[in-house]
Structures are given as structure tokens and as C-alpha cells.
């Protein structure tokens, strides 16, 4: 931040989203937005680094040279099946009362995308059913893809060389998922790279998304839109 290197630790919770404190200035930062909400750096924002939340297999396939954070004894002690753990978290109560007119349950898993000042939530369940989803936020045409595991999700800008690509799932394929664009018939993999056809070697630009619970996304993106299933 402005030439100063900050180190963060947990400070508290704001409606179930962490507040982090930097050791250098004591400012408080909201985890989900990366914005300083109190202290000397109030109003500043951390730059968001493009990141992925994908399966170990996908990350290993795409980044064979990657290094991995080593687990700790405490984390191993709390170890249980990740998916069972997630189901258990969905049962946790929340301090905020539910809005009876809300469009989604509070603990519904969504992926949130924020672009050009607009935000939109895509329920994971809908993305899985409708895979891939082509949509638009502001002027940007988007592609949201769910990998075969039903969990790893990515978002891309589907414009290339001034054209907007329409994408379809290649039917009946074994192994990793493949998409086809209707403009050139090229085949695309989950990393957004064309692996066959006229576009081979080209890549779509990745767009940051956040896998989150609906209540959390909504608190910090009160104007958010919600993507509804098209069937």
C-alpha cells in the first residue's frame, strides 16, 4: 500500500465477514472488499489479485510448477471431509435475521462478479444446471463455466478481436470439459484457452469472481443483481 508493506492479522467479524488489521498502521480492513474502514488508511483499497478457487487436480494440471501452502497440525486436527464441512457450515445460524422476501436463502452458495461498478450474483446451483452460462454485466459479455467436478467455476470476458463469442458445451466428451464457440468452431478448455480450431492458442481474459454465501455478498454489494435461471 503506497510503498509500505503491510502484514495482516484477524481483528474481528463484521456480520460474519472478517475484519483484518494491519500490524504497521493498525487500520482495519474489510475482508470481502479489501477496503480500509477505520484507522490511518481509512478509504484505501487493497489491489485485488486475480485468483482462482478450483480443484487441486485442475490447479496441478494447469500449474505443474506451482508450490502449495503446507498444512499445519491444527488444521489437520480439524480435518474432515471438505464437502461435509461445507454442508455443516450451511446449518450455522446467522446474527442477521432473514428477509422473508429475499430472492435466495441466506446460506445459498453464489459466485459474485463485480464489473464497472455493477455486481451480480450467480447461484452455483443455476450455473451447474445451465453450464456454461453466457451473460452480460454492463457492456461486458461474460462466460461462466463450471468444471466437471461441479465446483470449480471460472468467469471470462468472451470478447476476442472485437467479436463476441457464443459458447456451448462440447457434448459427449470424456475427461476435462471442452467448450465450442459458434463463430469459429474452435474448442476451448477450462483455462479459457483455445486448444483446437482457428483460434487455437488464443486465450479469453479471466474475470475475478468470488464464491460466497448470498447473505455476505448482499451485505457488501447491496445493489447486486441476481442471475435467474433461464428455464
Amino acid at each position: 500500500m503506497d510503498g509500505q508493506r503491510l502484514t495482516f492479522r484477524l481483528m474481528g467479524l463484521n456480520n460474519q465477514n472478517f475484519i483484518m488489521e494491519d500490524e504497521q498502521t493498525g487500520s482495519w480492513w474489510q475482508q470481502v472488499t479489501g477496503e480500509a474502514i477505520f484507522g490511518p488508511l481509512k478509504g484505501k483499497s487493497l489491489e485485488l489479485v486475480m485468483s482462482d478457487e478450483v480443484s487441486f487436480e485442475i490447479w496441478k494440471r494447469e500449474h505443474p510448477q506451482s508450490r502449495v501452502l503446507v498444512s499445519t497440525a491444527e488444521a489437520e486436527l480439524s480435518k474432515k471431509n471438505f464437502h461435509e464441512g461445507l454442508e455443516a457450515v450451511k446449518e450455522f445460524g446467522l446474527p442477521m435475521s432473514a428477509d422473508p422476501n429475499d430472492v435466495l436463502p441466506q446460506r445459498e452458495l453464489i459466485v459474485g462478479v463485480e464489473l464497472e461498478g455493477q455486481s451480480k450474483a450467480y447461484p452455483v446451483e443455476v450455473l451447474v444446471k445451465q453450464n456454461p452460462v453466457v451473460d452480460q454485466i454492463g457492456e461486458v459479455p461474460l462466460l461462466l463455466v463450471v468444471a466437471r467436478d461441479g465446483e470449480s467455476i471460472r468467469c471470462f470476458d468472451r470478447r476476442l478481436d472485437g467479436a463476441t463469442l457464443e459458447m456451448y458445451l462440447k457434448p459427449g466428451t470424456e475427461g476435462p470439459l471442452v467448450l465450442i464457440d459458434s463463430e469459429t468452431g474452435s474448442e476451448w478448455d477450462f483455462s479459457g484457452r483455445a486448444i483446437a480450431g482457428p483460434m487455437a492458442g488464443r486465450s479469453l481474459q479471466k474475470i475475478h469472481l468470488l464464491k460466497d454465501f448470498w447473505f455476505d455478498w448482499k451485505i457488501f454489494h447491496p445493489e447486486t443483481l441476481v442471475f435467474r435461471a433461464g428455464f
Binding site: 484477524l10 482462482d52 478457487e53 487436480e57 501452502l69 499445519t72 471431509n81
Partner: protein
């Protein structure tokens, strides 16, 4: 002789107010299961900024009271001496409380003591272990298993020479 008890009484009152206040604030505004508003967050921050000052104040009062008690000691301990001694202990306990009460909530979470990583090729992974959070900066890739991050929540790291904070 009279003055020492005025000093002690006011010290004990301040200590009691600060300690009870700290506990009340922790219960009402800082508990993880409390719905927060921008006002309660602002109070939390104010309290966080002020707690070291409360600590110093209470420690000074504690020391002053002990000295006063010592200087005005009488040969045999009366009930006043016991009240004074208990008051001094309360001041010191209040000082500790003021410093640490804001940490009650944080004590639920265990930070990573250090960051260590290994090549992905060396790892065997089970699909039940869940996904990873991955970043790639300047050709250097790093993965943070969500399971580890869901326990420790924050990793201050350097990837591609860029200092980053990974958080879940």
C-alpha cells in the same frame, strides 16, 4: 490517613467501571454472533485504539495505590487495609482485562505462525480435501488449500516478488 482511602476508593471505582465496560462492550458489540452496524464497528475501533491507554492508566493507578497503601500502613491490618489491597489487585486485573478483552473474539482463530510451501508434484491429494485457492503472479504459481485457509484464514505471502495477503 484519610486521603489514602479517597485515592483507593476512586481508583477502585475507575477500575470497576473500565473492567465492566470492557466486558459489556465485548458482549454487546464485539461478539462474533452479534449483527454489526457501522456505529458498533466505530465503537469497536475506538475501544481498540483506547485499550492500551486504559491499560497504562490502570497500571499507574495500581502502582500509586500500592505505594500509598504501603506508606500509610499501620502495624495491624484493619478491614480498610484489606479493602485497599483488594482494590490494588482489581486495578492490575482491570489493566490486563482492558488490554485483552478485545482479543477474546480473536482467540477463536489461530493465525499461521509461518508460511511454508512445497512443490505441487510432491503432494498426494484426495478429492475429499476440497479445492485450492490459486494465484499466479509473474509466472510464479501458488496454491492455498481451502481447508487450511478455512482454519487459519490469513496467509501473508510473497508471490512473484509481490507481497500478497490470501484470505478465506
Amino acid at each position: 490517613m484519610r486521603r489514602v482511602y479517597v485515592v483507593l476508593l476512586s481508583s477502585v471505582t475507575i477500575a470497576a467501571v473500565v473492567t465492566l465496560g470492557a466486558v459489556a462492550i465485548a458482549q454487546k458489540w464485539m461478539s462474533p454472533m452479534v449483527a454489526q452496524t457501522s456505529e458498533t464497528l466505530a465503537r469497536n475501533y475506538w475501544f481498540d485504539v483506547w485499550s492500551p491507554r486504559w491499560t497504562v492508566l490502570l497500571l499507574v493507578l495500581g502502582v500509586v495505590s500500592i505505594v500509598a497503601l504501603w506508606r500509610h500502613r499501620v502495624a495491624a491490618w484493619t478491614w480498610r487495609s484489606y479493602v485497599g489491597a483488594v482494590g490494588c489487585l482489581m486495578l492490575l486485573a482491570g489493566a490486563v482485562g482492558a488490554t485483552h478483552v478485545k482479543r477474546i473474539e480473536i482467540m477463536l482463530f489461530k493465525p499461521l505462525s509461518h508460511i511454508e510451501h512445497v512443490p505441487i508434484a510432491e503432494l498426494e491429494y484426495d478429492a475429499a480435501d476440497g479445492p485450492v485457492m490459486g494465484v499466479e503472479i509473474d509466472g510464479e504459481a501458488r496454491a492455498y488449500p481451502v481447508k487450511v485457509m478455512a482454519y487459519h484464514h490469513i496467509a501473508n505471502d510473497v508471490v512473484g516478488q509481490q507481497p500478497i495477503v490470501a484470505t478465506y
